[in-house]
């Protein structure tokens, strides 16, 4: 590879790690909503695919490392994925070991990353021979994916029932835009519908709050109280393997291997399942909690990385919950990337491996060092100076602009419609995954009729 590109990769990794170290700490941030719009914007800006992949890998590694910090320091999850860990972090806190959690979790993350990157390349290469067959039947596979995720959803019946109607909504808008000559016949809308689904739950909560009766019916909510413990500062760069004992390292590594092989399943589900399964037999509560934290963080990291890299290496189609969600921009962000022309087609597997290793390495070095040393300072800064309102504002701004960019003023309202429907469905127990799968499956599925 060209040295200029390598320098660009390193810069992109540093920026990705820096930005998502801060975002990872902000409470409640949803992975898809914070990762996808930024990645898509970078793709549309025409950055080189090397830079985009490095930025993304570095961002997920940094975000996974940092979103465990608020769990450990303040007991509130920094993201959807860290929610299952709160209970175990609380156990350690009750036993007076709050700074234990952070170290166990970050070390688990490091192990997950180290396991997942090489293993993803092996698994990816094993799938490559079948890639053509898979691509030929992608419409069918996405439809089956939607059905599978629907069966795993909270509200199975509604999730199954909604597959075709939701497809009609998306394809209906698409054909309306074509019919009205809002967009040319050879382009299709992806980004804005995708983001519409992502912000659906926020939009629905907001709309409900406009109703005064609904507002009054909610219990009074004051400021969020957050307790931050002051613990001693660490010196030097600790070795992640030394922080974990043999059992913890083992179960974290083993969990990460399973997490990599199950890249096509939902990461949250696998994290809870593997984390509980591998630690159920441990009696001592403190040991059990530490092992669970190390394992869960490993699994989360591994399933995120493998969910991105395996489909990228093998097929170039988003064949995992991770790839249809947070990593969507790497597969599809027309006109720059399409399912026929994306990072899979532009980079060789070896180049992807190199870029991922650099991205993850930079993120681990920067973030791991920063976390172990300055966790409390960063948490305090983010909690004190970054209002949640501004974060929601920024993401709504990005969505509105990208909707306008896709198909003009009309599409801002079209995207709002998609968001409203998606939000209502989400509230009634239909997963994001089902809706994202429908977005990919709809053209083929409705073409059957």
């Amino acid at each position: 590879m060209d040295p200029v590109i390598i320098v660009q990769i390193i810069i992109a990794s540093i920026l990705g790690a820096g930005l998502y170290t801060l975002i990872g700490i902000a409470p409640g941030t949803d992975e898809t909503a914070v990762l996808a719009p930024v990645t898509i914007a970078l793709v549309l800006l025409g950055f080189s695919p090397y830079v985009i992949l490095a930025f993304f890998i570095s961002a997920i590694v940094a975000k996974k490392l940092t979103d465990s910090i608020p769990v450990a320091v303040a007991g509130i999850p920094g993201g959807v994925m860290s929610a299952p860990m709160v209970e175990h972090a609380m156990t350690l806190k009750e036993h007076g070991l709050p700074d234990h959690s952070i170290k166990k979790m970050s070390s688990g993350s490091v192990i997950g990353t180290l396991v997942a990157i090489p293993l993803s390349f092996i698994v990816g290469s094993l799938i490559i021979p079948y890639a053509d067959t898979i691509s030929e039947h992608s419409g069918l596979i996405f439809t089956l994916g939607a059905v599978l995720l629907a069966l795993l959803a909270k509200n199975k019946l509604l999730s199954l029932l909604i597959i075709i109607p939701f497809g009609i909504l998306l394809q209906g808008l698409q054909h309306l835009y074509w019919g009205l000559d809002v967009i040319p016949e050879d382009t299709s809308i992806f980004v804005s519908f995708f983001l519409g689904i992502t912000i659906g739950p926020i939009v629905i909560s907001l709309i409900e709050l406009i109703d005064k009766n609904h507002r009054d019916s909610l219990p009074f909510l004051g400021k969020k109280e957050i307790q931050i413990k002051n613990t001693k500062k660490e010196k030097g760069l600790p070795n992640p393997i030394k922080i974990l004992d043999k059992h913890e390292t083992g179960s974290s590594a083993f969990g990460s291997i399973i997490g990599t092989f199950t890249f096509f399943l939902t990461p949250v589900g696998m994290t809870v399942f593997i984390g509980e399964f591998m630690t159920r037999h441990v009696k001592d509560p403190v040991k059990r909690a530490s092992r669970a934290l190390a394992t869960m963080d490993g699994v989360t990291n591994a399933s995120y990385i493998s969910g991105t890299l395996i489909p990228l290496i093998a097929i170039g189609l988003p064949m995992s919950p991770m790839a249809i969600g947070p990593a969507a921009g790497l597969f599809n962000a027309p006109p720059e990337f399409t399912p026929e022309h994306n990072i899979h087609h532009l980079l060789t597997p070896v180049e992807m491996l190199t870029v991922s290793v650099i991205g993850a390495g930079v993120a681990l070095l920067i973030t791991y060092y920063i976390i172990i040393r300055y966790a409390q300072n960063i948490v305090r800064f983010v909690f004190k100076h970054i209002p949640h309102e501004a974060l929601i504002g920024l993401f709504s701004g990005l969505v509105v602009m990208l909707a306008f960019m896709d198909a003009g003023l009309l599409n801002i309202f079209g995207t709002l419609l998609v968001a409203l429907v998606a939000g209502l469905l989400y509230k009634n127990g239909v997963n994001y995954g089902v809706m994202f799968m429908v977005l990919y499956a709809a053209p083929w599925l409705l073409g059957l009729f």
């Binding site: 902000a26 409470p27 409640g28 941030t29 949803d30 914007a41 549309l44 800006l45 025409g46 999850p77 709050p98 739950p201 926020i202 909560s205 907001l206 709050l209 507002r215 909610l218 009074f220 909510l221 004051g222 400021k223 969020k224 109280e225 957050i226 307790q227 931050i228 413990k229 002051n230 613990t231 001693k232 305090r380 909690f383 004190k384 100076h385 970054i386 209002p387 949640h388 309102e389 501004a390 974060l391 929601i392 504002g393 920024l394 709504s396 701004g397 990005l398 509105v400 602009m401 306008f404 960019m405």
Partner: protein, 78 residues
């Protein structure tokens, strides 16, 4: 001071004040979309202007809006 008595709402995992949220959204949407529409020049430029607008909007909102979090420090021996 009436702000203190108003209830906050939980949106997207954290507590927000409805009025502040609407202000932040207006500022950010205005700045991103405004940047995109006003920007002169060829293809990636409007997007760049829009993104820069979004970041400026985010900074403005962060300055004028206070986070709704109460931080208590607990000293710990060890």
């Amino acid at each position: 001071m009436s702000e203190e008595n108003k209830s906050l709402f939980d949106i997207w995992g954290d507590n927000v004040n409805l009025k502040d949220l609407l202000i932040a959204m207006l500022i950010c949407i205005g700045m991103t979309l405004g940047g995109y529409v006003i920007a002169p020049g060829e293809d990636p430029q409007p997007l760049i202007a829009g993104l820069v607008g979004g970041v400026i909007g985010f900074i403005i909102s962060s300055i004028i809006i206070k986070p709704k979090r109460e931080i208590n420090d607990i000293e710990e021996e060890s």
